[in-house]
C-alpha cells in the first residue's frame, strides 16, 4: 500500500464569540476587526482529523497550509500540536483583500510548491464567510477532481477512494482517483484533542512563511487586484422589533397574546 500525502487547508477566522464586536466603518465600507482574536474554523479540525487518520492507517505525511497576515501562524501551531508534520503560512501584503478565487489560486500555488498532494482536505465552509467556494476552486487550479460535503471516506485501493457527498435528504457515493480535493463536513469524525506530546512536537517543527514571490504566482491573480468580485456596499442588519413584554399570570398573558395575534391577523382561521 502506497503512503498518502495530505495537505490540509486551514483558515484563520475571527473568533465567533466576538462577532458582535465587529463593527462597520461607514466611510470606508470595511469591517473593523481590530482586537478580535483569531480562531480556527471548526470544520478545519475535522479536515485535519481526517488527514491524520489516513496517515495513521496508511503512512505518509500531513502538511497544513494557510493564507493570512503574520500572526495567524497560531492556527497552524494547532495543526502541529495535533500531529501535522509541517505547516506553511502564505503571507504577503500582496495576498490581502482576496476573494475566494484569488484565495484558491494562491493556496493552489502553495500546494504546488509543496510538491502537490494525494488528497487536499478542507472544511466544507469557513465560519465567517461560509461560502464553501475555496475547495472546488483550489481543485480547479490544481486540475484535480473535487467532492464537497464529504461525510465519509473509504480507501478502495492505492489509487482510488470512495467518498460520500452528502446532499439534502440523501447522498451520492462516488469513486474518485487520487489526487483529489475533499471538503469535509462536521459529521465525518470527532476531532482529537491536543496532548502534552503535541506541544513538545511543536518545539521541534517549524512553520514556514512563504511570500507571493516564493510560490511563484502570477501577481495579477492574487489579492484585491486578482479578485473579480468587489464589495460595493456593506450595511448592518436591523433586527429590532416592537419588543412589547406582556405581563401577568400565565393564563392572562396567554389570553393577551391570542388577542394581539388575532388583531394582527396572523392566527390561522379555525
Amino acid at each position: 500500500m502506497k503512503p498518502i500525502n495530505s495537505v490540509v487547508c486551514m483558515k484563520p477566522v475571527p473568533d465567533q464569540r466576538f462577532w458582535d464586536k465587529v463593527s462597520l466603518d461607514k466611510k470606508t465600507k470595511t469591517l473593523r476587526r481590530a482586537g478580535i482574536p483569531i480562531a480556527l474554523g471548526p470544520l478545519d479540525k475535522n479536515a485535519l482529523e481526517e488527514a491524520l487518520r489516513i496517515r495513521e492507517a496508511r503512512g505518509g505525511k500531513v502538511t497544513a497550509i494557510s493564507m493570512g497576515p503574520p500572526g495567524t501562524e497560531e492556527i497552524l501551531e494547532w495543526a502541529i500540536v495535533l500531529g501535522a508534520d509541517e505547516a506553511v503560512l502564505l503571507s504577503d501584503p500582496a495576498f490581502a483583500g482576496a476573494d475566494t478565487l484569488a484565495t484558491a489560486y494562491a493556496l493552489a500555488w502553495g500546494i504546488k510548491k509543496l510538491g502537490g498532494a494525494d488528497i487536499v482536505f478542507l472544511g466544507n465552509e469557513s465560519l465567517d464567510g461560509s461560502t464553501g467556494q475555496v475547495g472546488p476552486q483550489v481543485a480547479e487550479f490544481l486540475n484535480m477532481p473535487h467532492v464537497t460535503h464529504v461525510s465519509r471516506i473509504e480507501l478502495v485501493d492505492d489509487d482510488t477512494l470512495r467518498a460520500r457527498f452528502h446532499i439534502e435528504y440523501g447522498f451520492i457515493d462516488v469513486e474518485v482517483k487520487k489526487p483529489v480535493v475533499l471538503a469535509v463536513e462536521k459529521g465525518i469524525n470527532e476531532p482529537r484533542c491536543p496532548t502534552l506530546w503535541g506541544t513538545v512536537w511543536l518545539r521541534e517543527r517549524k512553520i514556514s512563511r512563504w511570500s507571493a514571490d516564493e510560490i511563484g504566482v502570477d501577481k495579477t491573480k492574487i489579492g484585491l487586484s486578482g479578485s473579480p468580485t468587489q464589495v460595493s456596499d456593506v450595511t448592518t442588519i436591523e433586527l429590532k422589533r416592537k419588543g412589547e413584554i406582556l405581563k401577568g399570570e400565565p393564563s392572562d398573558v396567554a389570553r393577551q397574546l391570542v388577542q394581539k395575534l388575532r388583531a394582527e391577523n396572523v392566527l390561522p382561521k379555525g
Binding site: 461560509s130 461560502t131 472546488p136 469513486e175 460595493s232 400565565p250 391570542v258
Partner: protein, 331 residues
Amino acid sequence: MKEHKGVWVFAEQRGGKLSDVGLELLGIGRKIADKQQEGLAAVLMGHKVKPLVDELGEYGADRVYLADNPLLEVYRSDAYGRLMQEMIQQYKPNILIMGATSIGADLAPRVAAKVNTGLSAHCVGFDVDDKGQFVGQVPGFGGAVMASVICPNHYPQMATARPGFFEKLERQKGRKTEAVNVDVKFKEEDLSIKVVGTFREEVKTRPLESADVVVAGGYGVGGKENWKLVEELAEVLGGGVGATRPPCDEGWADLEGQMIGQSGKTVRPSLYIGVGISGAMHHLVGIKDTKVVVAINKDPNAPIFQAADYGIVGDLCQIIPRLVEAMRVSF
C-alpha cells in the same frame, strides 16, 4: 455592443423532478432579465429530463438549454462543471445564478474558476444598480452584516442564492419556450468521478420554508420531554416546528429539516413563536422576514426580546399549556 447577454438560471433536478430553488430563481431572474432587457434561460442537465422543459417555460424561461445524456443522470462535479464551462464559452451569458443547495454550491465555484469569473455566495437578494450592474446581497458574520457584491469586469457574473428567498412566478400553463439541445462531447472515460450509489429520502412533510406559522425551540426548552410542548403548540396552530442548533445537536430536533438560521433554513411565516431561544444573530437572520415574532423565555435579558414584537417572560411549562388552551378557545 456587449458580447455577453442573457440571464441564465441553473435548473437543478433530482431524479427527474425540478428543485424548487431553480423555479424561484426563474422568478427573480425574470425581473433582472426584464430590467436588463435581455432574455431569461434555464440550463437543464440530466437524463430523460426533456419533459421538464415545458415546466421551465411555464415558470418564466424564454429558452431552455437542454443537455440530456446518460452521463448526466446523477450529479457529479466534473461532468456538470465541464459541460457548463463549454456552454458558457459557446453562448456567453451575462449572468448565471444557481441555487445554493449542496449541488449548486458544489458546481458554481468550480465553474467560476474554470471561466475565470467572480461568484457571490448564498445571496439573499439581487438587483441591478444604476450602472446596469448586477448586484448580489451577501450576508456575512452569521448575518450581522450584509454586503453588496458586484463583479464588474468578468463574465458571466455569477451568484448562488439561498433556497426559499425568492418567489416563483405564477405558473402560466401553456407558455412557450424554445429548447436548445446541447451535445455532450465527453465520454465516461474522460471523467474522473464515478457514481457508485445514491440514497434519497422521500420528504413527506411540508417544508418549514413554506409554513405559515413556525414554532421554534432553543436550548432553553431543556429536554426532550419539554420539546413535546413546542410540538403541541405548533400542532394547534397548524404550523411547522423549527429549532436552533443546540436542540439539533441534542437530538430533540432534526438538523437538516428543522434548523433555522444562517447555516440552516430561512423561514418567512406570518407568525413565528420562539421558545427558549436566546436570540443569536445566526438564528434571528433566518426569521427576519416574519410578519409577527413572539418570544417566550424565562430570561428577561435574552436578546430575542428586542427582536420580537411580543415577549413573554416565564417558564414554558406554565405558558405553553395556557397558550394552547387560549388558542383552542379562540378558533
